[in-house]
């Protein structure tokens, strides 16, 4: 069972006529860091939400570890939404307690350790923090779960370049060989060094799934440059 994520004939229609997503087949392997890349409105968030069980596909199925997405996969998937859902009057310390109660596989020591390294005071309330700091807190919470699949929707959008490096470092040093991290982003240039594989999607369709080194080898250019070429407007 090498496939951590498998899509079988998945499609999702928000409005009857146009499918937001229409995947015949996609498999993602264990132990990889995967970039989910595509222009605005290409279906990145839709795919991530379906894999985390927040949306259900109109047809087809998604499997995590060979198990159809459902209550049994909740513990396998750690999802970082694009927008925050945490109560902003809460202190970081309380949120950590909340996560410890809520998730069996949440490791509070790991969370406190990462907070310390980023100089974030656990007694601060979320609402007193800048957008970037809030994003860091959320990422720390998500990465402190010992999950099989981490789904990160735009994790580096709002943070400065130095913090971006730290976040990427957090991602590469915290995932284990048995888990997979899938990152959706537009900031390809910043993250391509940490990716094993990339998935390009456009208008809900799979355009390409390949390893980063393969693309660099065959195309003689960076993923960023290749993306600009494939999706030229």
């Amino acid at each position: 069972m090498d496939h951590i994520l498998e899509c079988r004939g998945v499609s999702k229609n928000y409005l009857a006529q146009i499918p937001a997503l229409n995947f015949t087949n996609l498999t993602v392997n264990r132990g990889r860091i995967v970039g989910l890349l595509g222009p605005n409105g290409s279906g990145k968030t839709t795919l991530i939400k379906m894999a985390s069980g927040i949306l259900t596909p109109t047809s087809g199925s998604i499997l995590i570890n060979g198990v159809p997405v459902g209550p049994d996969t909740k513990n396998m998937v750690s999802y970082l939404p694009e927008r925050t859902y945490l109560n902003d009057w809460m202190k970081v310390r309380d949120i950590i307690q909340f996560f410890t109660d809520f998730y069996q596989n949440f490791n509070p020591e790991k969370a406190y350790d990462m907070l310390g390294r980023l100089n974030i005071n656990p007694d601060d309330r979320l609402k007193t923090m800048s957008k970037g700091t809030k994003e860091k807190v959320q990422l720390i919470l998500v990465m402190s779960r010992e999950a099989d699949l981490y789904l990160l929707d735009e994790p580096i959008g709002g943070v400065d370049p130095a913090a971006r490096d730290y976040i990427l470092d957090t991602i590469i040093s915290n995932y284990s060989e048995n888990s997979t991290v899938m990152i959706s982003t537009h900031l390809i240039y910043d993250i391509e060094k940490v990716l094993d594989d990339v998935i390009f999607i456009n208008q809900g369709n799979l355009v390409l799934a390949s390893s980063v080194d393969d693309i660099r080898e065959k195309q003689g250019k960076s993923i960023d440059a290749y993306f600009r070429e494939v999706f030229r407007c």
């Binding site: 490096d165 470092d169 590469i172 060094k193 940490v194 080194d213 660099r216 250019k221």
Partner: protein, 121 residues
């Protein structure tokens, strides 16, 4: 030495080159222990799988060997290191000659310029 990557080539092959440079320059001394895949990947801000691939390549060419329980070490074979050093040097010189040729200097002109410049320094 900083880790720097160019856009037009696979990252693992650039890692191989840059680790080779560290070995021949002595910043990773012969016989010493290499940092772990994870530590070095984190230092270079690359994916650990990519670093792993680079290590495998270095093992294949014999610059690095792994000991089952204690980690990976740089070879103690000085001749091997010297050979790689010479290879890297001739690559660099080749690149330089190519660039000078693009500026319109023949190899002889280039050599003359080099000895002139090095005297001035």
């Amino acid at each position: 030495m900083k880790w720097e990557f160019r856009d037009d080539r696979p990252i693992y092959s650039q890692l191989v080159e840059q680790i080779q440079r560290r070995i021949v320059s002595g910043s990773f001394p012969a016989g010493s222990k290499l940092p772990s895949v994870r530590d070095l990947a984190s230092e270079a801000s690359v994916n650990p799988n990519t670093m792993q691939k680079a290590f495998a390549e270095l093992e294949r060419i014999g610059l690095v060997y792994s000991q089952r329980t204690s980690g990976r070490f740089i070879t103690e074979d000085q001749t091997k290191i010297e050979t790689i050093k010479d290879e890297l040097a001739s690559e660099k010189i080749g690149e330089f000659f190519t660039q000078m040729k693009e500026l319109g200097f023949s190899q002889q002109d280039t050599i003359r310029l080099i000895s002139k410049t090095s005297k001035e320094e």
